[in-house]
Symmetry: D2
Subunit: 356 residues, 4 copies
Amino acid sequence: MSQQIEVGVLGATGMVGQQFIAQLAAHPWFRLTWVGASERSAGQKYRDAASWRLPVAPPADLADLVVQEARPGNGAPDLVFSAMDASVAGEIEEAFARAGHVVVSNSRNHRMAPDVPLLVPEINSDHIALIQTQRAARGWSGALVTNPNCSTVFLAMALAPLRQYGLKSVIVTTLQALSGAGYPGVASLDAVGNVVPFIPGEEAKIESEPKKILGSLERGQVVPHPVVISASTTRVAVVNGHTESIAVQLEQQPSLDQVRHALVSFSGAPQRHNLPSAPSQPIVYLHEENRPQPRLDVDRDGGMTVTVGRLRTCPILGYKFFALGHNTVRGAAGAAVLNAELLMAEGVLASPVARG
Amino acid sequence: MSQQIEVGVLGATGMVGQQFIAQLAAHPWFRLTWVGASERSAGQKYRDAASWRLPVAPPADLADLVVQEARPGNGAPDLVFSAMDASVAGEIEEAFARAGHVVVSNSRNHRMAPDVPLLVPEINSDHIALIQTQRAARGWSGALVTNPNCSTVFLAMALAPLRQYGLKSVIVTTLQALSGAGYPGVASLDAVGNVVPFIPGEEAKIESEPKKILGSLERGQVVPHPVVISASTTRVAVVNGHTESIAVQLEQQPSLDQVRHALVSFSGAPQRHNLPSAPSQPIVYLHEENRPQPRLDVDRDGGMTVTVGRLRTCPILGYKFFALGHNTVRGAAGAAVLNAELLMAEGVLASPVARG
Amino acid sequence: MSQQIEVGVLGATGMVGQQFIAQLAAHPWFRLTWVGASERSAGQKYRDAASWRLPVAPPADLADLVVQEARPGNGAPDLVFSAMDASVAGEIEEAFARAGHVVVSNSRNHRMAPDVPLLVPEINSDHIALIQTQRAARGWSGALVTNPNCSTVFLAMALAPLRQYGLKSVIVTTLQALSGAGYPGVASLDAVGNVVPFIPGEEAKIESEPKKILGSLERGQVVPHPVVISASTTRVAVVNGHTESIAVQLEQQPSLDQVRHALVSFSGAPQRHNLPSAPSQPIVYLHEENRPQPRLDVDRDGGMTVTVGRLRTCPILGYKFFALGHNTVRGAAGAAVLNAELLMAEGVLASPVARG
Amino acid sequence: MSQQIEVGVLGATGMVGQQFIAQLAAHPWFRLTWVGASERSAGQKYRDAASWRLPVAPPADLADLVVQEARPGNGAPDLVFSAMDASVAGEIEEAFARAGHVVVSNSRNHRMAPDVPLLVPEINSDHIALIQTQRAARGWSGALVTNPNCSTVFLAMALAPLRQYGLKSVIVTTLQALSGAGYPGVASLDAVGNVVPFIPGEEAKIESEPKKILGSLERGQVVPHPVVISASTTRVAVVNGHTESIAVQLEQQPSLDQVRHALVSFSGAPQRHNLPSAPSQPIVYLHEENRPQPRLDVDRDGGMTVTVGRLRTCPILGYKFFALGHNTVRGAAGAAVLNAELLMAEGVLASPVARG
């Protein structure tokens, strides 16, 4: 235990914060010792400040932790995860990075900033080099890295292995889970027996973020991938798990078998470093004709795997398939924790343990 | 009442048959006097033969009607609706048409036969001229007309007004309701909190049927429309109402306002003839950013309207929007009843009433 | 139309207010000409002030109606329905009654006041005599009548026919629909695939309100019925329709057939007066072993009927059965409209029309 | 691994059989080496014979196991679990017990036989002495033990700690999950947005089985507990987890605190023996006013705990509360596995390992 490094969570009382806490509960490298929230919650014990809403109980020792105000200088450890609402995340995350903290954020505020890595570690672990640019430009001693919007993660994961064939265009329709909207989030009358064909801001994120993630790093800058994406988003009565119906146009014409092989053999830095949260196989392909399904597939490998199925020919764009991912794990808290593991493995954070 | 014509329903005890019965319950032109089903049910009173599963109670006088075996010569009236399962519909429908009945079918068996009209009356009422071809080729004194698959109806309705701009290609992902699969149909464990990304046979129908519906009649034959369609289908936990996420490529570049205008001003033979089941406006466009929704929009105009929303620019195909329709009404029983009304208004069936 | 009387709705922009508007849309006696809401909404057109959330569209002429502030003297008609939130209903309703209006309220605030009728017209239409007591005690020229909590209505309806056998005690567990909690109401994460075994304040209402409703009027006062009720309430993923599992102890021992007969033959003032919203048979008994069900039975007779099934022997209390009612119709807006109809039929309000 | 004993599963391809396999996947004492099913499946590899429907994948080595016909003499190990359908379980289980196998069954067929233990190990581990009676009466060298119906388990668990206060009568309404009905089981149209107030045969089981479980063993026979139970059962749209609304009458009048203490301090043979599947605390009481809930509480302690909440005074029977349990774990496969562990710990089966 003494080999673990201490970490904090900004926005710890909210729904995303709780997911971070669940994700960190038995982490081999990280030990949660600090929780930050708004002024209103500061000073209370965590158990009193937070209305816990996850099926897994919060760690026993967390309950008595006193919530700190979310600003630097309250004993926050070097590494802090940010689960803050976008309305406040911008300034607070900057303040922490300026004060020397490494901030690993799930918030959307800085994702598209040119000097902030937007990481999916299997795809673009080299983008952490942006931290040099960031520090130089902003004069920060700390750093700020981000993970994408949940729907973006699964789409980017499914597209990355196809870059070798020349990604041209993508049309995607999402069927997104309720947990993505937090708590209370979506009203039950909008969810039960219904579909809502709109999620505020979501389509713009899905159309822009993957271009940065799939982009190449050239002279300290990310050159966005030229792929064009068109997204339509819906909310469905699923608790966890975003399903995506994806059609893709490629420059080359690989066979369906070649595409399948590209997907299942895809692997990257997390697997190379054998990171604690890394799935052994980032993309699993199911051959059954009615998969992936949220109920059966969302928790594969602790929710860190993207499951793909129904790859077939699209008479218009060439290829179409379905992808599924766990929106609050691989699409949020698990993504951020994997980012932090990557930073340690790559030496951005001093690693407390020897890893095999 | 004496002015009504008598009609029958083939496959009356099943789920689709029940929907026909509900649709005909208070019909001003048609009076249901004959119900046909399999040998197993024949001879029983309808109330004993059918396990009624709709919220509206069956008509009181129907309950005592004796179920006949589904073959010509059992007192079946001239006009019969077919709600039979595809496993038996083929031969039985042919037998009835050969014996002089006008068969208005919801079954898939004959939809794509070159001499069988596949009707969406607002779009291709002129296709009833195929009946001449059909009678000549088959030597039938009766006739057989069909309505499309449920998802096809809503897609074809939304595309028809855009033919003027040159329909090139369409990518559609459907979120389909449970009632489309009949009873018991989809297992509850596959539906509650889940999405199933597959519906057997559905994508092929959606990709082919609209080409025939939107096609033009030339010298007694339908020349299919050249539009290319790519479909992905999913089943979601909705009782009634298929939602479709549609992207369309056109040859011309109308403005979004022009497209919207084309949709809401779309109208055809049912409106011209003022048919009893015809919606006054076949396509309603909603400007709210989160519509259409099954819970709020599926029953508009008795379920005969297609509701469209969220029209916006698609960076790949040009246009994208959502459409919604009631799958067991406009997509099945209501579609067939509207077809029968069209046949009467166009003189294929002798009309018992004067219509204004 | 000139024979209709004008009515208003207090709290017209909220969810319950919308249900009142839907209920009044095609009413033969009442014409909605006035809508009142909070200061914040006052002055706006109804279409701008309200976020309409019901499947049926609001009446066209309502959309342009200007919302008035909810206080007497803004042109409110003599008869006003109250759909106000309990946090404000108390004082405002009193102000209207004091100013001479007849207030027909769905709010809970005054239900248990000794001089306020708590009406289920089939059961206790004679309780409107309390209005005399009320006017004498409070010096009001108007009047205030209330309808019960939704779950109470269905329970009281099912118990009323059994009073003849001596009601002793009742244990009830409810499975309540989401629409009862308004909008946004229950969070979807609490509803989808879940049961919440608690509804704030609900059990106390169910345990007390029926005693008043079933009570007898003696010398201008209601003597509560001595029945003892024990309630447990749950929220389930149903849109409309509360299901109740009811066990009853009676002083006498009628046969199950006698109990069934008492239920189905139950009738009262609404049927006698042939009120527009009155169901022809207030309680329908279904003999199928798996009924009543919300999906199949909630809309019976426009949602004004209570459906009962599965009557059987309880080895502890003697009798048990299930009852179902539409919570926003018979349990709220429809109940209030029926109350107003009763007041007209009984001469408390001057009737504009001759009724057969 | 060599210390594990080999076990088989009868009815291994069905839904309950799959739950057994999942429950045994990483068991420290038992190794699944034999799967039996109907003649139709016999001879096929398990992967081909079974349509796997659980979220967790089946063990890799199971997939290649060849399914045997479910009769003695096919290499079945000494200990076999029975997940067979009640239509065939009766004779086959008897044949195995006669042939010397210890049969641990989840099927209902022999539960109420006087010489067959109906076990909830925390409550009546002493009932395994019935095996002597059974062997004497039937001349079997093996043995047959059973676990109760799912709803019974949770009710019996919640009642057992109250026996000390004199259990007199119980009224229970259940809200049962879909997984209890197997696959395809409940039709989705009966589940989504609905409640079905009936489950075939369920109420009779809940009213009778607890009397045997809570009964005392006297001279080799179980004397049923005199408690009188009245059950009403419903099916709701929950995947896993039966919720029960329970009212209890006791001879004595313990305080609510005493009842709560009795519940949370309840413990029995599984805890004494520290059995692998035993929850450390069989009954957990939650103080939050809206618990237990299936979504949040069903998986506590691997699904082996019963969660209770909302204990309060019932004005009729004295006490009322809600209980929740995992129907396919503590209510089925997990219950049977715990029974087998008990048999080993008590020496009915030779134990392969030393236990602390």
